[in-house]
Structure formats: C-alpha cells, structure tokens
Symmetry: D2
Subunit: 138 residues, 4 copies
C-alpha cells in the first residue's frame, strides 16, 4: 500500500490529547500502551456515532500494527490524525499517527470490524460509517 | 516466516495474569490496550534482567503487531507465552500469545531494540540477552 | 472507632495482587491510584455477587479515606485484607489494608452505597450482602 | 475546618481534563481511581516545579480523603480546582474539587509530604512551595 502514515498532510481529522503525569511509566516516558489509548481515543472520535449505546452495532479491533518512532515526555500536548485506508464489507482499516509539534511519535494501522452489539458477529459496515470513511480515504 | 504464534506448543516461557475489574472497559470486556499490558508484562518477565536499573542498557519497543482473536471477560486468569522469533545485531523480535484455558485471545509480535540507558541509542544485543533468546528460538 | 486497620489479625478475607510493571509511575513506585485499584479489586472480590450483571442492584463508592504508609516497588506480590466496619440501612463501610509481607503499604476505609442498577438510587442493603458483611464485622 | 471544598468560589487555580473513553469502567462511568488521576494531575500542575527532576526534593501523598458526589459520563470536559488548606513544617494539605459544568463530581483533601528525592525522608517545605501555597490559602 502506498499511503504514507508518517505524513501529516494525509490526515484531515485530528484530535488533541494532553499527556497526563499518569501516562508515564517507570522509564519516565509515555508508555507504549498509553500511546495505544491516544490512538483509541482518535478512533472513538473518528467513528463517533459507533459508540453511541443506542445503536444496534459497535466496533471491535481485530488487528493493530503500531510503529514507535520517538519518545514522548511530559509535559506535552499531541495531535492524533485519523484517516481511512481500506473499506471492506464488514471491516474498515484506519490509519493514524501521533505528532508532537512536527515530530512524529508513532503510527498505527487498525483493522476494525463492525459487529452486532449483542451477538458480536460481523455485520455489513453501516451506510453512515461507510460515507464517513469514504470522505477520509483520498 | 513459518512460526505459528497461535500454537501453545511453541512457547516454553509462560507467565500468568489475573484479570482485574479495572482492566475492563465500557464495553465490559478487557480493553485492547490492557491486553497490551499483559504482553508487556510477559516481555518484562522474559527479558528480566533488562529492566534492572543498574544495567547500562534497556529495551524499547519499535514495532508491535497485535491480532485480537477472542473477547476476554472478567473474571479470568490468562497465560501469556513468550518466545524469540528473530535476533538481529541491535534488536530482537519476540512472539507471544495470550490464552484463556485453551482459547486463544490474542497474539503479538514485538520488535524490541536494545538501547543505551542514557543516550537511548541502539547498542548490540548483550550476550546474556542473546543466549536467553537463543534458548527460546527453536 | 476503635478498629485498627493496620493490624493484619483484623482481616479474615484476603486477595493477592501481583504488581505489574505498568503499575509503576514515573517515580518508579506503585502509583497511589493503582493502590486504589488493588483496594477496588478487594472490594469486588469481597462483595462478589454485587457485580454480577443480572442483579437489580450494584455498589457505588461514596467516600474513601486512604492512608499511604510505605512505598511499594516492583516486583512484589501483595495481600489485600478486607473487613466490614459499619452496616447502615443503604450503605456499608468497609475497612481494608495492603501488606507486602509483614510491611503495611496502605489502609483504606470505603463508604459503599447499594444502589438500584438502573436508577442509581440507594436501596436497602440486600440480605445476602448484609450477612456477608456481618460475618466480617467482628 | 470550615473551608467548603464544594464551593467553586474557593478555587483560583484550575486545570481542565477531558474524559477519555479509556477512563470509563465496566459500569460505563468514569472510575473512582480515574477521578484520582484527575486530582493527581491537578496536584502536579499546582505544585509544578516539585516534579522537575533536577530538584533535590519531591512530593509524596500521605493521606487522601475523597468524596464522590455525582457520576461522570463520557464525553465530558471537567475542571479541577486546587487550593491550599494547611501548611505544616514538612507537609501541606491541599483541597480540590472536580466540576462538570456547575455539577460537583468529587472533592479531595490530600496531605502531601515534601521529601528528599533520594532518601525519601521528610524535609522542610521549600520556600518557593511555601509561597505558592500561601497565595492559595485564603
């Protein structure tokens, strides 16, 4: 795939996260799994309505590929960019990156599956999610 | 690479983790990033001495590929299997899997880089880590 | 009140928690709020059935008084002792302490209120919780 | 003590925290211990320089009294107000409260002890902290 996740120009949807003191681990930097929390927050904001509890479907993550490029220290406010990479029948692949100023901290590719909220079985990507993702594909 | 991370027979190093109520997210299951914490705990135990604070080097993660295969609910105690996949000059790739009984929950491949504790620049994998990993390669 | 929360002889209900590397903060010790997670885990185990999702009531915490007595480092396995201190109409006060070996790490007093699962309004302490607590009062 | 921690007019130092999806627990609301993280973030910001790693002293918490007044749901941005309550020779008591709009979520009283960074033994409250606290006492 030719999309470069490290290029901020590839993202038109952004959220900000401020690093909390609690996000640091014993090595004194933001822990890998906490960067995962920032990416999750990006997904939740990007897919928005998918997390409303009155919908018949929700989103689960099937596969994450995360690359860690630079250490993140406290204090800092970072930006998380979100975009769509691929759109399948019951799943979508999202691309994202965390930047501190111009410095790239990490990238993540997330294969997300749309599932029935009760049975947790895959269902076709709903129209409203499909159009959201299509806007952020190019 | 032909090593099957989903096969428990491929692991000879194991730790146990008991799911905490706090590990659950709003969907009522163990959050993806918390599974990442279990994998991290496996790495810390597997590389052991690498986290002793009096050593001149430490380990940072450069890349994680995580596959989520089944939901994990509370209460549960899981086992995390750890093995080596590849050994480079300044890095090592670890393979791991989380099982709840016989049920596979997730697998993870982790590219770990050995760095100088102070400069955080890559250094050759120390002999003691190299032999540890070689034992868990086959 | 004359009950001494620092005395291990006062507890007949215990759980164990193993410190995770992720429980450490940037100061290199187990964070205060993570000690709070260990206490929560003690409460969840002690009140057990209260967290079963098919019951009409659940437990919320109204007040916590926590005293931190000693630092907790990694690695360690701690024991959390739980007991009842007071039993009211719609609430119960629990006492607890975390020990690392013989060393007292922290104590906590927790005023817990029984609420209707849906309205979140206080309801009388159910009989099964009442008898559980009465056993651990003396 | 006659200071009312529930009154926003008592605070002149504020931080904001945006609730993350990861801050929710299995009950679907912000977990008690995560409210503890917001209070900790308030303390870190309020005492600021105390966490700079090149100082000979740091701050540890000896006692926390937390009252939970209302549930906090996602999404939300809250404000954490911080003030000083008492100033001793080697310790200070801070008062704080979390508000969501005008709604009080929780209050916390924190006895904090100034300790030598290396020996972790109490030392007199440094002048710069003392004057900071004195400004927020009235």
């Amino acid at each position: 795939m030719s999309i470069d996740l490290t290029d901020p120009a590839g993202y038109r949807f952004w959220i900000e996260e401020r690093v909390r003191f609690a996000d640091l681990d014993a090595l004194g930097h933001v822990n890998n799994n906490t960067l995962g929390v920032y990416f999750e927050q990006g997904r939740v904001a990007f897919l928005g309505e998918a997390f409303a509890s009155d919908l018949p479907w929700t989103v689960v993550v099937a596969r994450l590929v995360t690359e860690f490029k630079a250490e993140l220290l406290y204090p800092a406010t970072v930006r998380v960019g979100m975009r769509a990479l691929r759109l399948g029948n019951t799943s979508a692949t999202l691309g994202s990156a965390i930047f501190h100023g111009d410095r790239l901290i990490a990238t993540q590719e997330a294969v997300s599956v749309i599932v029935d909220r009760h049975t947790h079985r895959p269902v076709p990507v709903p129209g409203e999610v499909r159009s959201r993702l299509a806007e952020h594909m190019g």
